[in-house]
Point group: C2
Chain length 406, copies 2
């Protein structure tokens, strides 16, 4: 029999082996009291097994027949369901998922992946880190104003422009008009510079409407789609990927993840979430930064990025996105940590440049170039004034608790 | 201007007023660095405001125009999005949501509510607590075996029978065959006893398929639907409610909530989640127990249940469900804590009765009757042997850390 293997960090007043058995029981065939002989037969066939115990980490094997495989909500209910509430456990955290081949075969994985996106943008040979930005102010601009900012960022050198996660289809910036205006500018950049800039338009909405919104986006010229997989639900991402008419790369944001991932002893680690995102077809995924404003454990982010870029089944590789408080001064840290297969996304760190968005985008690209050539930013900035101005403003790092919310 | 008001518990190395402003900025128009004068104009129009600070609790007002109102993922991105990951905050927990009338008016709330469900079951006048059960073993039974257990529970006195949250449409128990077999037994119970028993068939699946699955359930005679709102996504619940063809009450389960709600300093409290469930149309919702196996704060559960049963806009009231480790011996605790408008759901506490499921269901109903008549269980059990046997097995309470996982 094949098993889905999940590893949990567990704290309990019970001995660890009994805590492990409690999880296996709660999440498969058991309950808290003895029931009948029937249960023994069922348990042998479908009961989850404790496979291994290593310190506080327990590995549980779930027989594949427990799953309605392509029903992600059912999968989560089984491996990440009631156990988080069990009073007998003090803390429990899902830290790893291993899926058998027969499970993986039901999924398509990324449609484009790192290679497909590089091909679109024209960086397949160059292989450098991509530079992305988010429109700022993140909400409140009109479609025309949004397009202006997008043009300024793109012409300056950004490879990717994305909507804020809170911007979908509000009255102050309707999605159709926004998309039309931005894509006009994306076309203009192409004409003027020959470069393809991706615009990840945020089509996040419930899965019941996601294809409809993707169709609208495609009808108005979108070249990339953005979705928030936790608020919209994994099935919205999978629905997008599984629909053959949606022939665009998918930029996957993870807003709300901190509610689930941040406590290091409880909840769900980002890694298993990243596994499901790759499975369901995300082409880009936000995973954290080396030096940013969001709480982030560098070793953990590296592990996630390594997984996204690893050979896994027949799935294409996912482009990791580092985002949240980046600016030119931290670029070497990010590339040293994650390599060149990363999208370095700067919002304030581009639009907040003293000389404006276009100069800010240039400074970010210069920081990427300097790092690739192994030249210290200070030295490179001597004949790159855009970078120099950025370094003068932000330095190499930022004390977030000082700067944020001033 | 109207505002969505959200209260957050906040811990930060920054002074609380600056932490509050950081949240307001991150979740609306701001970023970590100054950008331009444009931002000031936008901020005045759409920026979230710090309304109040009370100790560690900060209340933020989000202008209504920030929202694409019926897009729940967008709503969550705004009030429960990136803030959980902000490095400048040590802990942050969404504890309350207040919605203005123009927001509420876009939602329908429960289709049936407590009154509608009582009408179906025939307890409108009697007004007693309902008794529910989950099929046990929770997975692994065939449709025919599931139906046998359902019959035994229903004829013994259960008002509600539900699927396990991990049981959807697996090969070992396909939903159509399961539903047909169970509804035959529900009809049989009606013929034999005149009583209507609800069967909450678990149609949890992504929102893209939820109506299809509801249609299948209705075509095969379902009288109640069950959905897990966190794994399937809020939009799946809302889609079910908003579709006029789905004329059945919705039993809402909350598997995975412990990953988000359990840490008392971080994440999202159950109360705001319950607010959204009522808004989106859940008729029953799991909220916790007074004496159960799941971790539960009694005062918090009371507060949630009070909200579900309160007068709120034009929305019908939601039937709270207490579930997880209940048995006849704890019934008085539950009813004393929550009143009679509660569904007391016992799985192991019914099927694990020494004399089997039917006797177990009778014992639960006897415990409800005794409590209504204000008769101590021990006394009532003197001429109710089913209850006596249950009390002999489980007593009045259970040491979960002892019993679970033995």
């Amino acid at each position: 029999m094949e098993f889905v293997e999940c590893t949990y960090y567990v704290e309990s007043a019970m001995p660890i082996d009994r805590a492990a058995r409690a999880i296996a029981a709660e999440q498969s065939t058991g309950t808290w009291t003895d029931i009948s002989t029937k249960e023994k037969e069922v348990d042998e066939r479908l009961g989850a097994r404790v496979i291994d115990i290593d310190g506080s980490n327990v590995k549980i094997g779930f027989p594949i027949d427990l799953f309605e495989i392509d029903n992600i909500p059912q999968f989560l209910a089984t491996v990440a369901g009631n156990l988080f509430g069990l009073g007998a456990l003090k803390n429990v955290r899902l830290i790893e998922i291993k899926l058998p081949k027969s499970f993986l075969s039901e999924f398509k994985g990324p449609r484009f992946g790192i290679g497909g996106i590089r091909k679109k943008v024209g960086t397949l040979n160059e292989g450098r880190a991509h530079v992305g930005t988010i429109i700022k102010p993140k909400v409140g601009l009109s479609p025309k104003e949004t397009a202006e900012v997008a043009y300024n960022a793109g012409i300056g050198g950004c490879d990717l422009i994305k909507d804020d996660e809170t911007l979908t289809n509000q009255a102050f910036c309707p999605i159709v008009e926004r998309l039309e205006k931005v894509m006009e500018k994306i076309d203009k950049i192409k004409e003027e510079s020959g470069r393809t800039v991706l615009y990840a338009v945020n089509i996040t909405v419930g899965a019941e409407e996601i294809i409809e919104r993707a169709d609208i986006a495609m009808a108005h010229g979108a070249n990339m789609l953005m979705i928030d997989f936790l608020t919209a639900g994994f099935s919205a991402l999978k629905t997008l990927r599984d629909d053959d008419s949606v022939n665009l790369p998918i930029h996957v944001h993870r807003t709300m993840h901190g509610a689930i991932t941040r406590n290091s002893k409880h909840g769900i680690s980002m890694l298993p979430l990243a596994v499901i995102v790759r499975l369901c077809g995300g082409d880009q995924l936000h995973t954290g930064t080396a030096k940013g404003k969001m709480e982030s454990d560098l070793e953990e982010v590296k592990e996630i990025n390594d997984f996204l870029k690893s050979d896994w089944h027949s799935f294409k590789k996912v482009f990791p996105v580092a985002s949240g408080g980046l600016h030119p001064g931290v670029v070497p840290y990010e590339i040293n940590a994650f390599g060149n297969d990363v999208v370095l996304q700067a919002g304030g760190g581009i639009h907040g440049h003293p000389d404006g968005t276009t100069t800010g985008a240039k400074a970010m690209r210069q920081a990427v170039d300097a790092t690739r050539k192994n030249i210290p930013l200070e030295k490179y900035s001597l004949d790159h004034p855009e970078l120099l101005r950025a370094l003068e403003k932000w330095g190499r790092k930022v004390d977030w608790s000082e700067l944020y919310g001033k």
